[in-house]
Amino acid sequence: MGTITRAAATGVEVRLEHLRRVFAGVVALDELSLTLAPGELVALLGPSGCGKTTALRLVAGLDEVTSGKVLFGGTDVTTLGANRRDVGMVFQAYSLFPHMTARQNVAFGLQMRRVDEQERKRRADAMLELVGLSGFADRYAHQLSGGQQQRVALARALAIQPKVLLLDEPLSALDAKVRGRLRDEIRRVQLEVGITTLFVTHDQEEALAIADRVGVMNKGRLEQLGPPTTIYTRPATPFVAEFVGLTNRIEGDVKGGEVIVRGTRLPLVRPDTPDGQAVALVRPEAVSLGSDGDAGGDAGGGPLVGTVIAVAFLGATSRVTVDLGDVIVLAQMPTSQASAHPAGSRVRLTLRPDPVLIARDETAAAEA
């Protein structure tokens, strides 16, 4: 097993240059440029239909670009057929060959490369061991669970020691628990093998948890590319802010590079936002709660006072829904703090002065 992982441990730089794909007038992918460093795992995140699969298929050579280039390690592979590209791909749907055992599935790509039979078997078994399925080599796909099938598919993709690993929502057909476990397992294997990986998902939690960098896509375009923490805490566009994580929409007043939300001044991610009425996007984690009484004699409470209408227990944290009268605000905090504010209690909200974004429809309306 060690020999395999060592042998493939040299990832290749993967470059997508101005990739464009148009289907009968519909732009599925628009000028996607992205460079993956050797061994890096980049997650492409976006809503359904934003072009993630299209991007992956172009890299794999399963579809033809309208324009743009794909380079592996500096070599242009744009016109190379899928079978000559040396990419390992794990599909969203179950894709094991039903007439072959797990071992035969994993060995298939090696057979295509004319590896001799003994070596094939040895490497297939080693790959199955890598994904934790040593005992399942002789099973057929229909004798494996969904998670096991996807792990065999991963072993199959890795067995050919591909230059690039492409994962198209490999976990979306699985239940939440298996999904979390397998996600971590994919990351472990990817790090162990050191392969450059493009991981497509519409699940923001998955993307943030697994990736070195996350690319958020919208309508065929890459909206933002950066490390998970940056994507989450400093979203570059309102779309990213709203797509990645929950966001409160609270009305405020933009004035001189700040927005005043019910008496609280918050800095703006984009200080050049024009002045005027606007909707600020505030993360639930940036909202904290205090008892209404805490404020003392603040004349019956300021503009950020409301009633708790629900508390959702999420485990270590809880999400509290507060009705401010004209708007509902979500706050997320450690469960121990949330328990002090049961449903029905009056609370005062405090907004942490993180830089916030202004919702795009409102800015568009203001500009018009």
Binding site: G61, V87, G88, P98, H99, A153
Partner: protein
Amino acid sequence: MTRSRRIRLQALRFVIFALAAAFFLVPIGAMFEFSTRGIGINSARTFSAWAAIPSTPELATAITVSLELALITSLLMLGLLLPTMVWVRLRLPRLNRIVEFICLMPLTVPAIALVVGIKPLYIWISLNFTDSILALSFAYLILVLPYAYRSLDAGLAAIDLKILTEAARSLGAGWGTVMLRVVVPNMPTAILNASLLSASLVLGEYTFANLLNYENLQVAIQYVSLVSAGTSIAVAVASLLFAFVLLMILSFAGGRLQVRSPGQRA
């Protein structure tokens, strides 16, 4: 109440089955009876008509030729239809309807009309290329298209063609390998069905061969019947039984393969 209903249903089934069986078996039985009659009214049963089959050279060659035709037609059909259907499904899905229409068309055109249309072509072929009867397989290819298409269509619909071919391609398989190693092994029943249907159709074909002046099995039976009715009937029974056997293989082996293909395969 329900019990008696079930019994009635069983009885009905049995009657229908018996009627259908009689419909097929009585004529064959009668033919068999006829082919084993002796010369005189009171003479004993004899298999001399059957024994004459191999020693009638016309028949022997016709049987071989028809079997060859059946084999060649099946292979041509698979070689032409399977890659076309796969390609259309993967790359040109809009053409699917058109291909289906073309493949089913021979059903709507009477054989006699087809022959009249195709005759000049065959005259030209026999003058310029070959007068071998095996050239008939091209005409037969047209005849078997509808049945083969239906069968292969069902087989392709049952597998996730796009995903399987794409997985194989990304693992390094060329199109030939994809067809032979991935598509074919996943639809053995459909392929067997298509081949056996084609084969039995070819074995029973008379109009084309006769009007295009080729001597296949059915035409030979016709000739032999002029000389020895018993022998011609014997061959007819034999070829019917052979077709039956083919269809039996189709339904039994087909059922077995279906169970086997996802599971037990070395």
